[in-house]
Subunit: 139 residues, 4 copies
């Protein structure tokens, strides 16, 4: 079941389903329970970043122990997300590939001089024009 080239969402979904069954947790794993549990983990993830001010890509200067802890919190969010999708009968892998295609249509690549667009927003709704220009100034 394990993919040669990486970890599949299907594999994680199956592992978590077995994990919950073995412990008799299935009755607790309703969609809204799992959603609130994911919000809880998102909070723990945010706490890692809360007093740090801006942080560079790659996390230069972070010690290994904090990075390990960060990986655990990112995983906690993922594992609840996988379980929530499963509880809702949603195939998360398929849904994600479809969403990427929708995003590609919503945000077409406009080639220009420096190949740079004024706004990032792969998956999120675009802020209004004023915010966009503010965005450019702030970064």
């Amino acid at each position: 079941m394990e993919a040669e080239n990486g970890v599949t969402l299907e594999e994680l979904t199956k592992k978590m389903a077995v994990f919950g069954e073995e412990r008799g947790w299935i009755d607790f794993h309703t969609p809204r329970n799992l959603l609130l549990a994911m919000v809880g983990e998102m909070g723990e993830l945010s706490e890692i970043f809360q007093w740090k001010g801006e942080v560079p890509r790659g996390l230069s200067g972070w010690d290994e122990q904090t990075k390990l802890h960060l990986g655990e919190e990112l995983s906690d969010v993922l594992l609840y997300l996988v379980q929530l999708s499963d509880a809702c009968g949603i195939d998360l892998g398929k849904a994600a590939l479809r969403k990427i295609q929708l995003n590609a249509i919503k945000y077409p690549v406009h080639l220009n001089a420096d190949n740079k667009q004024s706004s990032p927003s792969d998956t999120a709704p675009q802020p209004d024009t004023e915010e966009e220009s503010g965005m450019g100034k702030n970064i």
Copy 2:
């Protein structure tokens, strides 16, 4: 790159990296920007569930359009999570498999008469005993 058995986190990571590069968004994709974008998507996901009261596993009674919308919001959270992990230099797939192993140690399977434990908490810290008993009553 695509796994035969499903969608890998590595594949999604690569797709989103290319997606951002093609649009010149890499400067916006700092860890804290991506984290706040993910919190935004978590909010949109919560809005789907906010006035529904308890919702059963499988979402019986939900129409297809709402389920499709739900799949998109779940995907938005996933795609930002994948990009955040990438921006932090964390291999999310490996981290998730490691976290499942840690959880298995933290919450060993205790076989008993009905193979049911009093508390679910795969990835989250356990609530105290009083809350656990309250938990049982509420579900």
Copy 3:
């Protein structure tokens, strides 16, 4: 400074400003740091409710200790919200009164037979019609 009739947002704002100044924390209290801290507290609040399934208004059956803990987490969200508003130069009390007026315009009272509307949404955008009807069924 303390209002006779209750606790004012201005009072809390001032208390928290003094609290931070006395501890030399002002440099850490940037808007995005405070926002992420609030997301962290929102997560802790969610953890109280995460395994409970639906919970009735008034929390009948909850023990006093859990309620006390709940009051602390609600307060943590409030105190960061007050500090975030202050860091942004926003008068939260005035803004809240103004928002209530905007909501009253957005959601006018339609009197009907049972004085019951099909949709709650004081401050949030309304879900679409299909969700509304689903809402009614689920609660």
Copy 4:
């Protein structure tokens, strides 16, 4: 009912209770519904900050329209927080004053040369020492 010196939490609580009653929304205002609605508003608040990188106290450079929008999102979080507390039978004003006292005990003022402590954490659990030192470096 309105305090001379500012806006009280009691006033907002009462206004929102009347607002919900007039519209027949009370059945929808269960604790977990209100909590998820608040998470939704927290997401909308985060979206304002998501692509901006670090933002200075006072929001210099932000236009008035964005600040007005920010005030509305901050208010949305507050108004759901007030309604959630009310639905739980918690006196939010009293709880907040009590929490400030608890925080003062937890984080006593240590006077030193520059009256500056190494860690901010009014209401949140302290990060570990490594994170604290990282914190100082990052800000």
